[in-house]
Symmetry: C2
Subunit: 359 residues, 2 copies
Amino acid sequence: MSEGQGNPRKPTIRTVAELAGVSLKTVSRVINNEPSVLASTRARVLQAIADLDYEPDPSARNLRSASAYVIGLVYDNPNPYHIIGIQNGVLSACRETGFGLQIHPCDATSPLLAEELAELVQRSRLAGLVLTAPMSERVDLLQALAARGIRTTRIIAAAEDPGEGPPCVFVDDRDAAYEITEHLVQLGHQRIGFLWGGEDHRSSTERYLGYEQALKDYGITLDKHLVIPGDYTFDDGFRGARRLLALREPPTAIFGSNDEIAAGVLAAAKSAGMNVPYDLSIAGFEDSPFSRQSWPALTTAKQATEDIARHAARMLIAGLRHDGEGAAAVPNHGFVPQLVVRGSTAPVRPRAQAQGDTA
Amino acid sequence: MSEGQGNPRKPTIRTVAELAGVSLKTVSRVINNEPSVLASTRARVLQAIADLDYEPDPSARNLRSASAYVIGLVYDNPNPYHIIGIQNGVLSACRETGFGLQIHPCDATSPLLAEELAELVQRSRLAGLVLTAPMSERVDLLQALAARGIRTTRIIAAAEDPGEGPPCVFVDDRDAAYEITEHLVQLGHQRIGFLWGGEDHRSSTERYLGYEQALKDYGITLDKHLVIPGDYTFDDGFRGARRLLALREPPTAIFGSNDEIAAGVLAAAKSAGMNVPYDLSIAGFEDSPFSRQSWPALTTAKQATEDIARHAARMLIAGLRHDGEGAAAVPNHGFVPQLVVRGSTAPVRPRAQAQGDTA
């Protein structure tokens, strides 16, 4: 809005076309993110735009779509704190670079999701998408988007760099879940319940595997009655905890695979008149604001959600600016959530343990 | 993406131009949301597009920007649950109509906010903005945006339709805050603390006025020591409650002007070893998920945040479709939050009251 008289030295669309060795129309197509341009040509044009620091002037703005300046965030997650954390991280990368952010909640199980996202990218001329789990972990979807030339970066749960597929940030949930379980074992807990957070989320599988491995390493036999399926929600945490606490031999600790689930466990324990952590230890996963604000505050794994999302968005934007071939301008990067011990976990009480054994 | 052979009956940009009696270029300008079109002309073109149910075909897509299909949501609020509620409401209106949503957190106090939002609208070609408080209540900002031809609808805290300014949804926070205070008085509380949520939010003033009026109507003298300034955050709730509980005559009930504040009060009370609600009654405002998930669950005012935001977005979109003059296609609409009584409020204990009197 503040542009005054044009600077004659300012690069124009013609300068870009000359430097890239293509027609004006091709430059316009690239700027408008139209699919009819060869990847190698697109790369040359984007390089020229970057080299010249080209910015369309107001009178040429009708040549420009929003495409170069808006990215999309795709999510399907019932957890408001997690979504806000992801959004704030992506927004911070957008602010650094002048990009806008369009948000798109979706149904991860939809068979038409690839078409829906392609339509979104085309209608709103998005430069690329940040995909969160579980969409980021659906191979068929990733292939369908790549085939349509849609750029993505992904946030996934994995112990290692997958080494294939679109660029990604990988979060080692398994390692952190191992640490949480180990913390509970070291407090003397032998009967540790585990509440799943949706089997379509790879993160929940990873967290379960960390729990399972820690029990195994400490020589504790896994009791399948202590493992309850469910989704990443407060309600499933509440229901799952009620089932566990009604067992003939209830657990002395419950590991909810996210903080929403752990909040549900806390409510179930309190509604049953239990004193947390003395009657029951509870751990969550994520370090959401709830985990800090509840009473007692929750032992959890600090996930650095904002940093993770910021990194994923930076990768996407750097890829748009520096590379037209779809390869990552920035290498994949891993995060490991860190154990945070708070008031909701405590040493097992011999009496509580004994009650469990004889009930 | 699924469009097959073109249907010869399908309206084209030419049909639109003929029906509206304008040139192709003018139709293109309207579609691209360029400011150089008279409001009356724009209205004719939008009417023609609506009447013909015109949708640009793929080969004409470069004429079309994202502008007709993306709106912006502007917010500056520290409360994740509130923001997610607002987003979900706006997203639901967007889904109904095929619109996309771009989100734009901002600094409500920025003197350059009008320029920032105008730049946002132009860069991302947004069709209009949904403004939340406190931006929606800044008259200078509203005037600056209107002067630039930017369409907005607003969500504001007001007991009545303001009857001027851009279209709005108004939420009668004062009435609901009166009800909460009345509920506490009827439980026997005479010393009721009030924690503010940021003076730049009209909602906090309205909630304070409701509190003040209820005390007055019940013949209770307002003790200024029981009223603490702060922001709509957990931390300010915690700090404010600590100050109130340290008074020589502490309150027997605290009304936090949103649920985040009330969550902070709850944590402060529990960390002081108090038994809520028997030692202290606590009420919040909003009916956030936290208010339902905490133990005890919070007495609050159910704000229907999603419905309010959905209505505001529908107003904006209807205005874009049916009216080029800037007047509302849908009249302003009011919401009144409803008192929800839960476990965090209880009759005042004679002993606690007596302690307060003699401490």
